[in-house]
Amino acid sequence: MNAKKVIVSVLLSAALCALAAFGQGAAAPEDVLSIVRAIDAKQRSATSRQDMVMTTYPDMGDEGNKREFAIRSYSKGEDDSYMEFLEPRSIKGLRILGKGDDNWVFFPSTGRTRKIAGTSKKDSVQGVGGDFSYEDVGGGSFESKYDFRLLKSDSGSWTLEGVAKKKDAVYSKIVLTADKAKSLPTRIEFYTEEDGYFKDLVMTDFKVMGGRDAATRMTMVNLKKKSKTVVVVKAAEYDIQIDERYFNPSRFDK
């Protein structure tokens, strides 16, 4: 299996899960900056451990044509992440360490750890049946990337439009819908200058996991390619003690 595909798949899953896992309770501020900050605040945790299953559908209309990955992940702060593949068996034991923009991959067959080249955030993410850019899987708060305005506010949700602060941003605009009671995003529409509205991320099946309210099912649809990726979080724990070796480039394979 193509190593880059695998890395991308895992980074994607981790990023989506981070996006979905927020703290409990919510204020209901009506000024835009407070809303965005409330959402950003709930993405943060000191550490986390998650079990997830990611399913890719190259053709969103063909549910039988799919590939499934089972992944265990650990994260620390915004920069450190560790992933281990449990399924499929063909890549079982493959481990990926991310520290900021640096990535290392441990290949269990050769017993070798390799450093993987950084990739432009503009690059299309390959191999998971969708058009995810590395921007999707990177860190950073909504507030730091977009200038928001309130499009709509009803009894249960806010709809915010965020315009990119940087001219060279991957997305020129996003439209974010968030649940008022939870301060959790339930849907994000992604726009680019070239393609307009072309991706849609929907978060559903909210459950309490690890003491936090979190979406346990995330579906990313690529409207241009007609493909989708579904990530289901099976279990999650937050702010727990995690052995430092998982985040050490020379020992994460041990």
Binding site: N2, T110, G111, A117, V232, A235, K254
Partner: protein, 439 residues
């Protein structure tokens, strides 16, 4: 025969155990919201069926077939956090020209009728079996373990604990070496690791009286740090190789000391790496310092390369240059005995490997490339179509075409008449198909 029956029974038992485990995992996954199975103990692996034909002789009756059946079973046991055990066992059956004994018999290097000749069609081996312990900044691996040093993709000058299995059609695992490997990592920016091995690089099946001599103990020490975008390592390695070829090369130990450097990182969107060792000037005993006649380029072994992904095209390019100072640029000096004994798999000084890989229609990957001997202008061209038919089913079809002028390395035919033997053909033009099932 008895050995094979026992192995077959053991493998069958493992499959039965595995099917039970898989059933348990599936039922847990269907419950939803339950964590993935915490695999304290797991058994997994893969099986490969591989068939090839030497098409250079087609359609004549001289055309030969080759077949491989390979099963690798892996097991993990994690009794507690920070402590684990790993084992890998393989069943390897090769027929026709895929069996190295057939090639040797063709050249008259061994007689299959000789009761003492090693002419096995199949073998069963516990290739890896080791424990790992992690405590604080220290970790320790001990047993029969893979020592995979080096950042390069095809050639690894710093990997001296085992011989490389270059261009093997089914196996890409690093062979296990009897060794202990401690690692100390007080900070992310600094890692120190070392190994002491209890067998030489040849991993031969038989023992020799001097195996236990301390001068025949290989070791390596590596210090690694991170500088900007690059992981950089410096190492010092002692290599011990036992070289022999029945009737032609009496067994002897070859000892060498190497100082090495390794760097891997990124420049723009290119992944780049370089890995090099310098063989230090030692005397014939491999122990005493002897700088007389030292030639830097002859002592140098380097692999350097890059990889690049073409944005939006699902296309990857990889290229690697390899310099083997101990090789020769004069093809008249090629040594088929070095090749057949495993002492040196490549004969020349300079090589380039390149490969282009295109993914399409979601599950298909087409790759094409080759290994070029720059010194004698011979090449091994390779093309392959891979299809991931299911999560754990991979189908491949491809061709390997060695080509070169007469007497060149990849032309592949060596005349051993001076040794009273025949011609040996070590390179085959193969069309192949394979099926790999992971479990």
């Amino acid at each position: 025969m008895k050995k094979i029956l026992i192995a077959a029974a053991a493998l069958a038992a493992l499959f039965l155990a595995l099917s039970t485990l898989k059933a348990q995992e599936s039922s847990e996954a269907e419950e939803g919201g339950a964590p993935l199975a915490d695999e304290r103990m797991s058994v997994y692996g893969y099986g490969v069926s591989f068939a090839s034909v030497d098409f250079r002789e087609l359609p004549s009756e001289e055309a030969e077939l080759g077949g491989i059946a390979y099963i690798r079973v892996k097991g993990d046991f994690k009794p507690q956090e920070g402590l684990s055990f790993h084992v890998e066992a393989s069943y390897d059956a090769r027929t026709g020209y895929q069996n190295s004994f057939v090639t040797l018999a063709d050249a008259g290097l061994l007689d299959p009728a000789d009761a003492d000749a090693h002419t096995f069609m199949s073998s069963i081996e516990v290739d890896q079996a080791y424990g790992s312990a992690v405590a604080g900044d220290f970790s320790l691996q001990a047993g029969k373990l893979p020592i995979g040093w080096g950042s390069a993709y095809v050639f690894n000058p710093t990997q001296r604990a085992s011989r490389p299995a270059l261009l093997d059609p089914v196996v890409d695992e690093t062979p296990g070496t009897l060794a202990i490997l401690p690692t100390w990592s007080p900070a992310d920016a600094f890692r120190l690791s070392a190994y002491v091995a209890f067998q030489d690089r040849s991993h031969r099946e038989t023992v020799a009286a001097d195996d236990g001599a301390i001068e025949n103990m290989p070791f390596g020490v590596k210090a690694q740090t991170t500088i900007g975008n690059f992981d950089v390592a410096a190492c010092f390695i002692k290599e011990v190789d036992y070289v022999e070829l029945a009737g032609l090369m009496p067994g002897s130990y070859e000892r060498s000391l190497f100082a090495g450097l390794d760097a891997a990182g990124a420049i723009w969107d290119f992944g780049v790496y370089a890995e090099a060792v310098l063989m230090l000037p030692m005397g014939d005993d491999g122990l005493s310092w002897d700088p007389d006649g030292f030639d830097f380029l002859d002592a140098l072994e380097v692999a350097a390369g890059f990889d690049y992904s073409f944005s939006g095209l699902e296309l990857e390019l990889r290229a690697e240059y390899y310099h083997q100072g101990s090789g020769t640029s004069d093809k008249a000096l090629y040594s088929p005995l070095d090749l057949l004994s495993g002492r040196k798999l490549l004969q020349a000084e300079d090589y380039v490997f390149a490969r282009l890989e295109k993914t399409f229609a979601d599950y298909f990957t087409l790759s094409a490339g080759g290994l070029v001997n720059i010194n004698d202008a011979s090449v091994v061209a390779m093309a392959e179509l891979q299809y991931e038919a299911m999560d754990n089913l991979e189908l491949k079809a491809g061709a390997t075409v060695p080509w070169g002028p007469m007497g060149s390395e990849f032309e592949g035919r060596y005349d051993l008449s001076a040794l009273g033997l025949g011609e040996v053909d070590v390179m085959r033009s193969s069309i192949y198909a394979s099926c790999k099932v992971s479990f």
